[in-house]
Amino acid sequence: MPRLATRKRQADMSEVQVTPLSSARVGNTGIVERIDLPEEVGNYLAHLGFLPGTHVEVLRRAPAGDPTVYRIDGVEVGLRNETARHIFLKLSATEARI
């Protein structure tokens, strides 16, 4: 995972687009930019891997469209959009153009 993350980060240099995690589409990947959540929630998420600089992939949405499953650091985590809205993602260049 770390090697992959570095490669993506280099790709981002050309074109950078920051978006809330909740707006990213299924299949998108990117690097966590910042997290605007109360400390308690932020710490919990940090222990699951949601920290600036980590590589994230939007895996799939639950049948009702929410929550969404993200793959972070080899682990799948389900988050409601109301939480994912406060996590900001630097989209990988290829997807940013789509």
């Binding site: 929550p67 080899g74 988050l79």
Partner: protein, 640 residues
């Protein structure tokens, strides 16, 4: 590395171990992130059987056991709830940290630590290592799930890791029992050289998640760790099981399949067991003298206990399904699917897992609510959990359904009427829970939005061993209950059904059922229950089932066994003879809602630390049950 500092004494300064002294080591703690396999390892090392399953948050208490399986009876192993860090947010995590740091009253401070980490995503799991090492106890790092690592092609170097961490490291598989021989070696070493071979280790000073993370990433990249590829099967299965349409359909199909199997496979097994038990009882009775002893043993106790025992096959089938769902990792997916519904009633999706486990039994479910961080949401979940149809309702449900609902099949023999009625009863309980939660949220508990954060474990095949052990434990529990609570209540009911004894012309005559104490008591309460379509025997059954729900079947077995008019009939036939359809359906509806369980009341009292909630819950559920049963009986009475 400027923010790192050595926290442990270097090797040269360690005091030499005094030779020949008695074991200094007494208590060993198991610690690690949620769902890393601590309880599986605990069970392996102690030979005990704490509940294990494939989702985070199964263990919510600390458990202790002697390390018998590795021949160390002198050592106590403590299993702890999973934690992500020493900064705690939920009640179960606080228990773990308190025990680990020696602050838990009544639990000795551990002398050494087994740190269990999931080897398949070490980057993240190592974040816990730094805070645990900083406690300063001898620690063995166990990287669990070696089987998964191998199968999915992960790479790790235990020697390099041990050098980096300054603590011994071993790769194990707790589920398969592989690699565990390092544990006794470590314990011997820890015993003689307690704090002896610790090397200085660079630990993050501030221990903020970010600094722990940086450290963990550095350690894993320096040791050339490569996480295994994502399980292809998990991806494939999830694209089907979490599919927009197929996902919820599969969920419903699974639930329905459970009930269908309980009837199509469970009922014949149960009938067969009934025949065997009845004839065994009859044969045994022939050997007894024809007096009060035979009456007591056969008509009283055997009839009562046997009528509960016959449900063993159905209970085991139900738990087989629950076991497969829990061990495979599907439960977390079900929580994801259900989150939308949970949110609409103001509950955290996290509440779904305790609520699902309430389908087995409300007691562990109420304890599992400790994983819910928000206090008000936790209490709301505790209050609605007993509405979920627990396995103790299964005997009375299947008894009434088998006696009153014809065995019709629809859609080419796939969908059975009996299974449908059963599904309806389960849905009724769930609906009551939803409405209650909604009421609680709009009045008593205005919950502020706690975030829904759910880790999805990889799918795993449930092992035969773990399923077999689950069934064995369940069967034992059920038989134990039949042999204690149900036997006791049955005995009491029988005694009250033959007293007072009349002495006439030198011989003793037992009372007729209607003239007995229980007959009087039954007819005293009958007026209240008449509108529900219950006769006095059902009333006594209801009274006795306040102890536990299954007891009603035992009581009815005894009462109908003692009654000369129904003596020779089986319990099903006796009920058909004695109840209307309306009364019978009203009875199961009553059970869908009523709080007939002293264990649940006790655990609610313990977990909420007040009598207010159990009292409120009991009153509310009884009122709902009475009203619903009344409406059901009157509707059926006037419609048919």
């Amino acid at each position: 590395m400027s923010c790192h500092t050595p926290v442990l004494e270097p090797l040269e300064q360690a005091p030499p171990a005094p030779a020949g002294t008695k074991s200094r080591l007494r208590t060993v703690a198991l610690i690690g992130p949620p769902n890393a396999g601590k309880s599986t390892l605990f069970n392996r090392l102690t030979g005990m059987r704490q509940k294990v399953a494939n989702y985070p948050g199964v263990t919510v208490e600390h458990h202790s056991g002697r390390m018998k399986s590795i021949g160390r009876n002198d050592l106590t192993l403590i299993d702890l709830p999973g934690i992500y860090s020493l900064a705690t947010y939920s009640e179960d995590a606080r228990v773990a940290v308190d025990v680990l740091t020696g602050k838990m009253p009544g639990v000795p401070r551990p002398d050494c630590v087994l740190l269990v980490l999931d080897a398949t995503h070490l980057n993240r799991q190592l974040m816990l290592a730094a805070p645990v090492f900083s406690i300063g106890l001898p620690t063995l790092v166990l990287l669990n799930m070696a089987d998964q690592m191998e199968a999915r092609g992960g790479v790790l170097d235990t020697l390099a890791l041990a050098r980096e961490l300054g603590h011994p490291v071993a790769l194990i598989s707790a589920a398969q029992g592989k690699g565990l021989e390092v544990i006794p070696d470590f314990l011997l070493q820890a015993d003689t050289t307690l704090a002896h071979n610790l090397r200085p280790v660079q630990l993050p000073v501030l221990q903020s998640p970010a600094s722990c993370r940086t450290w963990a990433t550095q350690v894993s990249s320096r040791t050339n760790y490569q996480s295994p590829a994502a399980s292809l099967w998990t991806r494939r299965l999830d694209s089907l099981l979490l599919h927009r349409i197929a996902g919820p359909l599969f969920f419903l199909a699974v639930v329905f399949a459970v009930f269908q199997v309980v009837f199509t496979l469970g009922q014949p097994l149960s009938d067969g067991l009934g025949t065997i038990l009845t004839s065994a009882g009859a044969k045994a009775a022939l050997m007894l003298p024809d007096n009060w002893l035979r009456l007591l043993l056969r008509d009283g106790l055997w009839n009562g206990v046997q009528s509960v025992l016959v449900f063993l096959p159905q209970i085991l089938l139900l738990f087989l399904f629950i076991g497969v769902l829990e061990d495979s990792g599907y439960l977390a997916r079900a929580a994801l699917i259900a989150d939308r519904v949970m949110r609409s009633i103001g509950l955290n999706g996290k509440a779904f897992i305790p609520l699902l486990s309430a389908y087995a039994c409300a007691v562990p479910a109420i304890m599992a609510t400790r994983t819910i961080e928000n206090k008000r949401e936790r209490i709301a979940t505790i209050l609605i959990a007993p509405f979920m149809t627990c396995s103790a309702r299964l005997p009375i449900y299947t008894l009434i359904i088998a006696a009153f609902i014809p065995n019709r099949m629809f859609v080419g023999g796939v969908v059975g009427l009996r299974a449908l009625v059963m599904l309806g009863l389960y849905a009724l309980g769930f609906l009551a829970a939803l409405i209650t939660a909604k009421l609680l949220n709009s009045s008593v508990m205005k919950a502020n939005a706690a975030p829904f954060i759910l880790e999805l474990p990889q799918y795993r095949w449930p092992t035969l061993r773990s399923l077999a052990l689950r069934l064995y434990d369940r069967g034992k529990l059920f038989l134990k209950k039949a042999g204690t609570v149900i036997l006791g209540v049955t005995f009491l009911v029988w005694v009250m059904s033959v007293l007072p004894v009349h002495f006439a012309t030198g011989t003793a005559h037992v009372s007729d059922l209607t003239a007995s104490i229980i007959g009087h008591l039954g007819r005293f309460i009958e007026p209240v229950l008449r509108p529900l379509g219950f006769n006095w025997k059902i009333g006594i059954g209801l009274l006795s089932s306040i102890v536990a729900r299954e007891v009603i079947v035992g009581t009815l077995g005894t009462l109908y066994g003692v009654d000369p008019t129904t003596h020779s009939l089986g319990l099903q036939a006796a009920l058909r003879h004695d109840m209307t359809l309306g009364g019978a359906i009203a009875l199961v509806v009553f059970f869908a809602f009523a709080m007939q369980c002293t264990s649940t009341l006790a655990v609610v009292k313990r977990e909420t630390n007040s009598w207010k909630f159990p009292a409120m819950q009991f009153t509310y559920m009884t009122v709902v049950a009475y009203t619903a049963a009344l409406i059901t009986n009157q509707l059926i009475l006037h419609l048919f």
